[in-house]
């Protein structure tokens, strides 16, 4: 991991100065603000079994599928297209350091986006307090849901980085990331909805289905239930994707 710190600071600096990051952040906050607004409206009309924050986070897949690919698509594909990756590889910096620096910079940016959502809830809580005797922003729900986002982000951002390693086209990298994340997010729900119990020949799917229930993980985290299985899933998935990304970069030249 030679020069990891240098590369990480460089990547973070690029992210701060890049118009792409700011445009994506604007899009993210607009999207989250709109979802939160509708959740608030719903809660103001009649009591709901969920808080507005819970309602907002239930739609976490929207920014995941629409915003995350925009964040990660340029990380390697743009450098490969411009040829600057080859130039970077002639320095003593290791490929692992390059991949991890890009991943961590993208993950920190992703986390920062979500942290940018907190002021919305604080502002609403400060001005309105409660509607229909329902707490508008339960901090435990918010912390739990954000923990889920940060933890699952390890895998989701790593998928984006891996997809960006596979092509010179940023658009194609974004599309690949979108499809993979859609498959991953939808797979859990789809497997859960299948009548696996009654199909004995599909019994082997029971175990993976219980691991891939992304929405279930969100509910658990938001309820303050910390299960080690999703942690293992997201961390090992992250290591697998970044390992493949390192191999992809090595194999490209």
């Amino acid at each position: 991991m030679r020069h990891f710190k240098t590369l990480l600071f460089h990547e973070l600096k690029l992210a701060v100065y890049s118009w792409n990051t700011w445009a994506t952040a604007g899009l993210f906050l607009t999207l989250m603000g709109t979802i939160y607004w509708f959740a608030l409206l719903e809660c103001s009309r009649s009591p709901q079994p969920w808080t507005p924050v819970e309602g907002t986070f239930k739609l976490f897949w929207l920014p995941l599928l629409c915003i995350l690919p925009l964040l990660t698509m340029r990380s390697f594909s743009e450098e490969r297209r411009a040829g600057t990756l080859s130039s970077l590889l002639t320095t003593p910096a290791s490929i692992a350091a390059i991949v991890w620096a890009k991943f961590l910079a993208a993950w920190i940016t992703w986390v920062t986006f979500w942290l940018g959502f907190i002021p919305f809830t604080m502002l609403v809580n400060l001005r309105l307090g409660s509607v229909n005797e329902q707490r508008l922003s339960d901090p435990t729900v918010l912390i739990g849901a954000l923990s889920f986002i940060f933890m699952s982000g390890l895998l989701h951002v790593a998928i984006g980085i891996l997809c960006s390693c596979l092509t010179r086209s940023s658009a194609l990298a974004a599309l690949l990331t979108f499809i993979t994340l859609l498959g991953l997010t939808a797979a859990g729900g789809a497997l859960e909805s299948l009548p696996i119990e009654s199909w004995t020949w599909l019994g082997w799917l029971r175990e993976p289905a219980s691991h891939l229930r992304t929405f279930g993980h969100l509910q658990d985290f938001a309820a303050g239930v910390i299960d080690s299985r999703p942690l293992v899933l997201y961390i090992t998935g992250n290591l697998l994707c970044l390992g493949l990304a390192i191999l992809a970069v090595e194999g490209q030249e």
Binding site: R2, H3, T6, L7, H10, L14, Y17, S18, A82, G83, T84, S86, S87, L88, L89, T90, T91, P92, A93, S94, E253
Partner: protein, 329 residues
Amino acid sequence: MTEPTTQPVAAVVAELLTKRYGSLTAIEDLSFTVAPGEIVGFLGPNGAGKSTTMKILAGTMAGTSGRATIWGESVSLNPAAAKSHLAYMPENNPLPDDLRVEEYLTLRAKLKNVESKNVQARVEKVMIDCDLIRRAKGRLIGHLSKGFRQRVGIADALLAQPKVIILDEPTIGLDPHQILGIRDLIRSLRGQMAVLISSHILHEVEQVCDKVVIINRGRLVAQGKTEDLRRELLPNAVFKLTSNTPLAQLLEICLQIESAAKIEVQENLAGDWVRYQITIPTQSAIRENLAAHLIKAGVSLREIAEEHYGLEDIFLAATRRTTNDGLKN
């Protein structure tokens, strides 16, 4: 990092390097060396395998077989140590458009193991050496002209004071003034670092390099000092002379003084004057004073001059020889 305590015999060693893409062989059994402090021109027609060889030496591409070392360190077995002795400027010199020159060079200095306390000083030094300090220091690389971008690439190569520099077409797209500047800069590196430079401008290579390596169709066709290659590849000296002595008489005289001489008429001029071309072996004893021999033998001369063979002729002779061999095979 492994730091050899003694200076290796060769700064760059390419030994039987081969690179294949499926059935296509880009380079085959390529072997040459570059001594420490030596400037070597790496020549070949388009598609000969120059850039492939340079990429393998720089460690950005793996060879199919063979061995490459930089300052005694194997490029494949110990890439980090090899890269710490090497700076490589690829063809077209890719640079990030969204960084400022000083920012970029500072980042590169850090990545190239320049000590933190020396980074600023080294960046300033290379910007002065490459004439970037006044007009390009704070500008975005994406807004620079081709000439300034090339300078940034060379400044980057010089940053960490490497033992070996590999420059792939460093003067491509530059105007004559800029070429002169880059040429002087490269010349100033002689004795300090080994430089392997590929260029299509043979005149420039001849002026700057201590020796040349010529490849064609992925194979080595010649290597050595220009003078040695001239003797090897162009064994005849050619003289152009203008005389009014008839061809038959001139031929008789020439054969008397050099039995291997050949003569042919180039052009009939006004009056009885004719422009001839005389070819004699380079090693011939009369080469140095052919004019005196001819005058002594009664030939009236108006003009005589030996044709000078430049690197271009050597390059053409070397590549033509292998191309013809290839066609025969």
